[in-house]
Each structure stands twice: as structure tokens, then as C-alpha cells.
Amino acid sequence: MSSTSPSPLHLAVALDGTGWHPASWREPVARPRDLFTASYWADQVAEAERGLLDFVTFEDGLGLQSSHYGELDGRTDQVRGRLDAVLIAARIAPLTSHIGLVPTVVSTHTEPFHISKAIATLDYVSTGRAGVRVQLSARPHEADHFGRRTFEPISLESLRSEAGQERLAEHFDEAADYIEVVRRLWDSWEDDAEIRDVATGRFVDRDKLHYIDFEGRHFSVKGPSITPRPPQGQPVVSSLAHQTIPYRLVARATDIGYVTPHDTEEARAIVAEIRAEQEAAGRADEPLHIFGDLVVFLDDDEATAVARRERLDGLAGEPYTSDARIFAGTPAQLADLLQELQSTGLTGFRLRPAVAGHDLPAITQGLVPELQRRDAFRRAYEADTLRGLLGLARPANRYAAAAAAATA
């Protein structure tokens, strides 16, 4: 594949509270008291849509936020509490027209049947702009909120041990089953199942409704869905990954993986690993986006951005660390970095604004025009669906294809 101009990159923004820096809520632009209102989220997504971004993701979780992975931290100096991400996305959908809406869902304690129809419905209310970011929770205190399973204590360090890897593999196997069920349910209605045949009195052609008959280690689901196949056929599935086991899930089951390389070398290695897993999973021909995640502090000059980061670290009482690379600089410097990383095979980026009220508009009004000047980003929305924006075709229905093959 060759081209004289650089291939356009895809841009998403990850929305989380007042921003990703834990002291972001203390900035005058932050609006921390509005976090539990629809208008706060409507304003954020409207800004992202003005910037022609591909989509926004909404963070979520089945417990209070914490600065420790495996347990609550009892802190009162950071944002705590949040609204259900699928419902925020649905609430915003009728107010927007082009941007993709990708809420986080936790697969560990929820029902794939419910989530499948929720995301299908999000696809209906957004007329084809729904996606989902699947996240799992191994946190014991979140399992206690459901009382159906008990998880051993966990920390990010403990996951690196052999036992930790086994446990991780088990959680990710469950997530893979979950995505499989969600996807089968989306296909459990063929597109033309609704016939409204007045002559015979039949509303649907039941031969075009399919039991999914999934049986796995953690759950069995019969189907079909109660919700007809959504406008995109298959809404976009995405997942964040930091190591081999999650890379494998990305490669086997998703349309977009979010990864966290800290330099081009690491980016190249991650892309190679995911592409190899993709091939091993027999999906080499299918499009799979790999997005780099970055936390961004954006200002008109680098010193201001760096100073802002330091000031926020001071307010937080400690330097901010992240799984993702933290960038502080100008829109032009960020554009340079994104293009450099893109050369390793990343197809897009999910930017995490350090301060939503500051860095989101800096992305849409600073970075986006800079990328447009370089012919590296769209100047208008070129499609009405999220799959369309991401260059993903509307997929054939697995059951319709099977039925056609059987009769051929």
C-alpha cells in the first residue's frame, strides 16, 4: 500500500470524569459539580464532534474509582462516583449526529444478553454509531458488590507471577466468551427477518431468527436476542491491552485494540505481536485497528504544558503516573509524535485529556487543525456510521451466510 500523502489517522478521545489527571477537577474549567448531569457529558461530546473525532469512549466501573488497582483507597481528594457509561452514551446519542459513542462495559459480573441488547439499542438510538469497550474486573471488592463469586486479593504486580498469569488468562477467556455471545446475539436476527406479511399474518420469518446455543465454562446463552440486528450489523468492539494475554483477546475478538507504547520501538513490537496473534486466530484478512493511548497536556508552548502538569502534580501531592505515555507539549509536537508512532503500524490514537475542560478543546481546536494542515486527518465526516468512519464494512451475518451455504 503506497500513497503520496500520509494515510489519515483515526482519533478518539477517552472521557473520564473531569480528565485523567487526578487533580484535574480542581482546575477552574473543570465543572466537578456537573459530573452527574447530562449537560456536562453533552458538552464534552459536542466538543469532540466539532473536532470531527471518530469516537469518544466513556470510562466506567462497578465500584468507586481508586488509585490502587486491587482495592479502594479511601481518598476524598479525587473524583469519586460515576454514572453508567452505556446510559450516558444513550443520553447523548440523540444530541449528536456523526461521532461514535463507545461506552465501557464490565464483562465480569454482567449478563452478555443484557449488554448485547443494550449496545444494539445504542446503535438504534444513534443510528449506527455505537461501539463498546469491554473491560474485565478482577477486583475482589467489586466481586463483593455482586456476591456470586469471591476473588483473591490482586495487585498489578501479582499479575506478573505465573499464578497471576493463569488467573489473568481465565478472566480473559471469560471476556472472550462474553464477546462471542454478544456478537452472536447481534447476528441472531437476519437483517430481513421482519417481513410484516399481512397475507399470512406473519410479522417475522422465524427461519431468519437463530438460536445461538452458546455453551461455555462460565455461562450458556440460548438466544435469539430480543432486539433485532442493529443498524451496523456488528457495533464496534474494542478493548485496552498491555500484555500478551489481553493482546490475544484484541486479536481474536475485537475491531480496535487500545495499546500503550512509550516509544516507537515498543509500538512496533506491540503491533507485530498483535498482528501475529491475529494471523494465528485466522483473522489476518479482517481489518483490526490498533490505537495508541496517550495522556495529553496541550498548550501553545511546551513550557506552559509542562508547567501545568507540574502544577497539577503539586495539587495532587504526587507525580501523576499512567499506564499510557504522558505527553506535555504543543499541538504541533503532538502531531509529530502521532505521525511518528503511526509509522510503526498504529492506525489511530485514543487521547486521554489530562484536564477535560482544557485539553479536549486543545485537541479539537489545536491538534485537529494541525493534522488537517498535514493532510493527516479528515476535514468533514465522510460517513454516517462508526464502522464507516473506521473504514469497516458492514459485516455479513454469520447465520445468514451459514444458511446460504447450506442451501447452495
Binding site: 459539580r33 448531569t37 447530562a38 452505556v86
Partner: protein, 457 residues
């Protein structure tokens, strides 16, 4: 002294997946596109209705081992559609059915609390319970619940979600940017629940929503269901839309409130009601008859007869006489995923009675199903329907109605345009919303005030 006029409460039920909904009518639109829901909700809000109501079903119905294909099939996810409707309405309450058997309290509580925040206080929950293994096949937990435990689980489920809603009091978020204190209390949302069905603890992660708790609806009709409503619900979605049955139900349920320390205005009785309007009463009657024939095609008549006979009757002619063979009274029912088939407690007696009726009136199978099926609750000119509705409410047969149009999504429009103005003229229905929340529309007290009242007494 004459009784002051009661104010009527009105709600709109989005047409559902049963044969009330006439999908074959040329005016019938999509039952799944968002534009249909938006149209319906905007009509209800234009008419100053209290709320929109959305039902739920978690498995496609089957009959004779096959997916039932004669009615509308397919519906959206309740929470997702209600959250989207919050964006296109400002005042309308948003009531959804959510099953307490195939969900967990923590998740449902955060969804309702989120919906209440995102709608500025308009969320309501119709708590239903189920036990069937048939529906359970779609879920992790399966269909394990013994039938006699369904209310005990539903009650504990609701009590547990209330504990979660109440785990935040409303004053925890300080968000003081100068001092850096976001939360006033590190233990915000802390809860412990240990019971027969749920043993959970931790911290709830959605701060208190505008209504404190969603408004609670209950729809069960059994003695246990009525008791559950009297102890825990704000409103009952009942099925009695005739005057004498309505009054009996109303008196029975309201009389159960005192033992829970509740006043009679703390539980509203809102029956579901269908309607057909015409320019004149005679025209409406003709139209209603026609609608009933549309609702019961020959194929539908055979399927409905199978509810009672519990046998494959597909070889029978719907325009011919009733079957001579008797119903199969075995436990394994031909129809799955449907509540109303259990209404026929004695199928043999019902079959006998129906054969006699059909013979006496020279009814075919289809005639019989039409005639024994539900007549529309309100049939007439707009003034007749307005008067009938008002008379029902003033006679304490209900506190209002949940209207079920038979056409999606425009079936509510004529009611909004022609009947509501007449009720407003009579001073029995609001001309403007009095407050922002669904509790305001229903005249229900905020849970914080209820708690304060109980503490003071």
C-alpha cells in the same frame, strides 16, 4: 360536603409485542427505530402525560416449540431507550420494566440512579419477577428460582436496591476546588446487605439522584403481589379497567396500606387501558369492532385457542367450529414466555363453557376468540371517552390510566389532540407540569421527606 375533584394521572404504554398492537395497519410504523419512540414520547409530553411506560421481555415467545411469529417481535433494551428519550423530552416520566430475577441489585441500582440523574429526576421502575427456566436459558444464573420464592427474591431485591439508593445521602460531594476536598466522607455509598438471596457489601458508586430513588411500580395481581405493592410500591400497573372490578381492586389494595404506616395517596392505582376514538360513539363502536378483527386474524385465533387447549390445533379451520377434543391438562405448556396463559386455571371448564357459547351464538373459532377477548376499555367520541375516564377516577376505580394505543407510534396522537383538552377543560388534568420530577407529577413525596415524617412521628 362533596368530595373535591381528583386530578387524573395519565401515562402512555409504548405498543408491545402482543396482539393488541395492530402491525398490519398501513399507519403502523417501526417498533424498533428510535424515531418511533421519540414520536410517541413527544406526543405524550405534548399532552402533559405523567409518564411513558415501556415493558420488557427477555426471551422471544414460543408456541409449539417454535418462535411465535404472528405478533410484533423484537424490542429494545429498556434502560438504553429510556436514557435516549430523556434527551428528547423535558418533563415526561420514564418508566421501564426491569426483571428482578435476571439481574443483580448493584447493577440495576446504578442503572436507575444513572437514569434518574440523566433525566433530572424522571426515572421509574416497574419491578417484575419471573422464575421460568425458559427465560433463564438466556442468562448466567439460569432458571433456578422456585416459583414460590419469586416474591421473596423480588422483595429482597427491591429492599437491597433501596439500601443502595440510600447509601448516599446527597451531601457527600463537596467538590471544593480550593481545599481539594471532593468527597466529604470517604465511606460514601457504604452498604452491607446479608439476606436469603443476596449477601453483598461494599460501596455504591452513584451519588444520590434527584428523586432519591426511582418511583416504584408493581404489576402483580396475586395476593402476594398486592401485599408487595402495598408495602413497597408507589404505583400499581393493574389490569382492571372495568368500573366494578376496578373499584374492588382499588379498595382492596388501598386498605392494605395502613398496616405499613402508609397513607392512601402514597400508592396510585393505574390500570392499563386500550381505547378507540370516533367522531361519534357509533362510529367508534364500528371502528373498535374492526380493530378487534384486525387484532385476531384466523391464525391468531387458532394460536389463542391453543392457550386453553394446550394442543396443536393448526389443522382446525378458524372459521369453523371449536374442537371436539378436550384440552391437554399436562404441566408442559405449549406456549412459552407468556404470562396470560396461566389465566385459564381450569382449561376443561373453559373449553366446555366456550363450546356452549359458540354453539349458542353460532360463533366460529375466530368469532369466539374475538368475543371472549378483551374489548377496548374506552370506546366512543372524545367527549364520551373523557367523561368515562373522569367518572372512573372520581368513582375511585383508579387514579388514572396507562393508555395502550394499538398503532405504533401515532396511536396516541388523537387522544392527545382530542381527549386531553376536554379533561383539561373539566379541571381534572394538568395544563402545565407542576414540577420537574416524576414524583412531582404523581404527587408522591420524596423519600427523604418520608423518612423525616417517620422520624418525627
Amino acid at each position: 360536603m362533596s368530595k373535591p375533584l381528583k386530578q387524573i394521572h395519565l401515562a402512555a404504554h409504548f405498543p408491545g409485542v402482543n396482539n393488541t398492537t395492530v402491525w398490519s395497519d398501513p399507519a403502523a410504523g417501526s417498533h424498533i427505530e428510535f424515531s418511533s419512540f421519540a414520536h410517541f414520547a413527544k406526543t405524550a409530553e405534548r399532552a402533559k402525560f405523567d409518564f411513558l411506560f415501556l415493558a420488557e421481555g427477555l426471551r422471544l415467545r414460543e408456541q409449539g416449540g417454535k418462535i411465535y411469529d404472528l405478533d410484533v417481535v423484537g424490542r429494545p433494551d429498556t434502560f438504553t431507550i429510556l436514557a435516549a428519550l430523556a434527551a428528547v423530552t423535558e418533563h415526561l416520566g420514564l418508566t421501564g420494566t426491569i426483571n428482578s430475577t435476571f439481574n443483580e441489585p448493584y447493577e440495576v441500582a446504578r442503572q436507575f440512579a444513572s437514569l434518574d440523574h440523566l433525566s433530572d429526576g424522571r426515572a421509574a421502575w416497574n419491578v417484575v419477577t419471573s422464575w421460568d427456566a425458559f427465560t433463564g436459558e438466556n442468562f448466567r444464573r439460569g432458571g433456578f428460582l422456585p416459583q414460590d420464592e419469586r416474591y421473596s427474591r423480588a422483595k429482597e431485591f427491591l429492599a437491597t436496591t433501596n439500601e443502595l439508593f440510600d447509601s448516599w445521602h446527597g451531601d457527600e460531594i463537596l467538590a471544593d476546588q480550593s481545599t481539594g476536598t471532593f468527597l466529604r466522607d470517604a465511606k460514601a455509598g457504604a452498604f452491607v446487605h446479608q439476606g436469603q438471596h443476596f449477601d453483598i457489601h461494599g460501596q455504591f458508586n452513584v451519588p444520590r439522584s434527584p428523586q432519591g430513588r426511582p418511583v416504584i411500580f408493581q404489576a402483580g395481581d396475586s395476593d402476594e403481589g398486592r401485599e408487595f405493592a402495598a408495602s413497597s410500591a408507589d404505583a400499581i400497573f393493574s389490569r382492571y379497567s372495568t368500573l366494578d372490578q376496578g373499584q374492588a381492586f382499588y379498595t382492596d389494595v388501598k386498605s392494605r396500606l395502613a398496616k405499613y404506616g402508609r397513607r392512601s395517596d402514597q400508592l396510585l392505582i393505574l390500570p392499563a387501558a386500550t381505547f378507540v376514538l370516533g367522531d361519534t360513539d357509533a362510529e367508534a363502536e364500528d371502528l373498535a369492532k374492526e380493530v378487534r378483527r384486525q387484532q385476531v386474524s384466523g391464525a391468531t385465533a387458532i394460536k389463542h385457542l391453543e392457550f386453553v387447549w394446550n394442543r396443536d390445533l393448526s389443522s382446525y379451520d378458524p372459521d369453523g367450529p371449536l374442537p371436539d377434543i378436550d384440552p391437554d391438562v399436562s404441566d408442559n405448556h405449549i406456549s412459552k414466555g407468556r404470562a396470560q396463559v396461566r389465566m385459564y386455571r381450569d382449561p376443561l371448564a373453559t373449553a366446555r363453557e366456550w363450546r356452549e357459547l359458540a354453539a349458542a351464538n353460532k360463533w366460529s373459532i375466530r368469532d369466539l376468540v374475538i368475543e371472549t377477548g378483551n374489548r377496548q376499555a374506552f370506546i366512543g367520541s372524545p367527549s364520551t371517552v373523557a367523561k368515562t375516564i373522569n367518572d372512573f377516577v372520581q368513582a375511585d376505580a383508579s387514579d388514572g390510566f396507562i393508555l395502550v394505543p394499538h398503532i405504533t407510534p401515532s396511536g396516541l396522537d388523537p387522544f392527545a389532540d382530542k381527549v386531553v383538552p376536554l379533561l383539561q377543560e373539566q379541571g381534572v388534568f394538568r395544563t402545565e407540569y407542576e414540577g420537574p420530577t416524576l414524583r412531582d407529577h404523581l404527587g408522591l413525596t420524596h423519600p427523604d421527606e418520608v423518612r423525616d415524617e417517620r422520624a418525627a412521628s
